[in-house]
Amino acid sequence: MASVRLENVHKTYPNGHVAARGLDLEIEDGELLVFVGPSGCGKSTALRMIAGLETPSSGRVCIGDRECTELPPQDRDIAMVFQSYALYPHKTIRENLAFGLRMRGTGKDEMEQRVDRAAGALGLEEFLERKPGQLSGGQRQRVALGRAIVREPQAFLFDEPLSNLDAKLRVQTRAELSRMHRRLGATMVYVTHDQEEAMTLGTRVAVMHEGIFQQVAPPMEVYRRPANRFVGGFVGSPAMNFFECQLTEEDGKPRLATGELSVSLEPGDWLGEAGNAVILGVRPHDIELVATEVADVPARVDVIEPLGSEMLIHLQVGTVEEGQAVRAVIPPEAQASVDDAVGLRFRRDRLHIFHSESERRLN
């Protein structure tokens, strides 16, 4: 196992598309790091540059102590699981699993041993003589995993390996991957567009947008203290609510205000000069319904979606033309009905305040 390091990696495709603009990252030995971001953010390109399937326009890629920026994939000693699995359709499962070992000249006995061990670990023994076409999606996915495991590589790369599975199998396989990571203690880099997958799997999560890492941190930190507005909006479901506010002062205390919204902060929370424009972010889970007198902002209930364990309500703040929609998640036993006038109160220790232009976190 080895660490993986990206040093100021840029990638511009021949058609002019810029997929990476200065990636700097150290993935530690034994870590499971997840690249997450919307489609087109450059996460797959970043992974493919680690694999050697794309060459960076500038910058360095190192695996272990070795620089391998220009090294072709076959010389990097990494294994990759593709979204489409990319099993060799004309080879049996056994040949699929053994292919990488054969290419690297592993002895026959050891090859058989390792293939049998991997097949055993993944419950593939009975399929070894079949072709990929005769297997179900979930079984093919296991073969793809197996093909990576037998190699015992320096690092594992996963390119959205679960996105072709149905919801139930996905959750199951996710847990299995977690277990596999723990057992092998392997360095893994995992790409997904699904923030839930990223949060549950990663030792650290690298949120990517427009070719740069917006934040690289453990999942809970990314959730609790998003480094900028993009990360705040991308991580967490339902998505964070944003309010564009003015920073003002009242009785020596800082206050955020816009329209009917008025949130007073503690004196210690100075975020710059009064009059500055800031963006307030509040997660739906951090909003309570209260009486209008003690509320930070009055609102009208628009739609109620009971989810069983909790209730998602869509609210309208201000008028339909000028105001904005807000989503809140409240306990299922809360009393609310459509068109009620309610008050919203934001949990003070869970406020996210961003600079209005740089969109960087201020508090």
Binding site: P14, P72, Q74, A86, M103
Partner: protein, 273 residues
């Protein structure tokens, strides 16, 4: 469903089969009929079958020689065409290099010349190279015509194969050529078989170049030999038809043997799977 609706398609297909197969049937029957009876009122069902024409073909006319020539020329052309063409097509389908479109267009443009218009320049060229009346003198011109078709067919074929398969192979430790050999070639087998057969049939049947670039029977191919059967005073129909049957047999056998692969090749990509 009423009766005629059910039988109409079968009837149409039957007619079609009859129309295509009848000339072959007639050629086979005629080639087995004694010369004297060929010009009598023909009957659909032959009565007196003899092998005279075939015997004459091999005993008197040494038909082995043109068959050998054709096998050598068509076989060499096919092997060269498919092996070189496959590498070329793979490069065009997968590698990034400049002027790829231009190269593809150029390859196609070569086939646009009418064959008859390049016979004389090619003759002069081959004479300079001292290749008139040799096997290479036929293989080389055939290659120029068969290669573009092969390349175009195979480029289409390789493009359909998912890129990830090679990428997976390369991550697994295979070099690009190894990945090509181990993964791409086996998967492209239907396409390779299709192009191989098309090339073989083309070179086997080619007449104009074969007539122009050979001088004597020792290098003449089957079509040329058959065309030169006719003498000054008579046309030996029986022998011509016998030769036609003999010449068609290997091609027909080849096509039948690879029939499934060809159909796969021609329809590949129509449906996933």
């Amino acid at each position: 469903m009423s009766g005629w609706r059910k039988w109409l398609p079968i009837g149409v297909v039957g007619l079609l089969v009859l129309a295509t197969a009848f000339p072959f049937y007639w050629a086979i029957v005629s080639s087995l009929t004694p010369e004297a009876r060929l010009f009598e009122a023909p009957s659909l069902l032959p009565t007196n079958l003899v092998l005279d024409h075939y015997r004459a073909l091999f005993d008197e006319r040494n038909f082995w020689i043109p068959i050998r020539n054709s096998l050598v020329v068509a076989g060499t052309t096919t092997v060269l065409c498919v092996s070189v063409g496959a590498l070329c097509a793979y490069a065009l389908a997968r590698l990034d290099f400049r002027f790829k479109g231009v190269v593809l267009g150029f390859i196609l443009a070569v086939t646009m010349f009418p064959q008859i218009s390049i016979v004389s320049p090619l003759y002069l060229l081959l004479r300079e190279l001292r290749l008139i009346n040799t096997y290479p003198g036929l293989v080389l011109p055939y290659l120029t015509f068969a290669m573009p078709l092969t390349v175009w067919l195979l480029v289409g074929f390789f493009r359909q194969l998912p890129r990830e398969l090679e990428e997976a192979a390369m991550v697994d430790g295979a070099s690009r050529l190894r990945a090509f050999r181990e993964i791409i070639l086996p998967l492209a087998l239907p396409g390779l078989a299709t192009t191989a057969i098309l090339t073989f049939v083309y070179s086997w049947n080619e007449f104009l170049f074969a007539l122009s670039f050979t001088l004597g029977p020792e290098r003449q191919t089957v079509p040329v030999a058959i065309a030169l059967f006719r003498g000054q005073y008579q046309v030996p129909w029986g022998q011509i038809l016998a030769a036609a049957v003999v010449a068609t047999a290997p091609v027909a056998a080849l096509v039948l043997a690879f029939q499934r692969r060809i159909v796969q090749g021609l329809t590949a990509g129509a449906v996933k799977g």
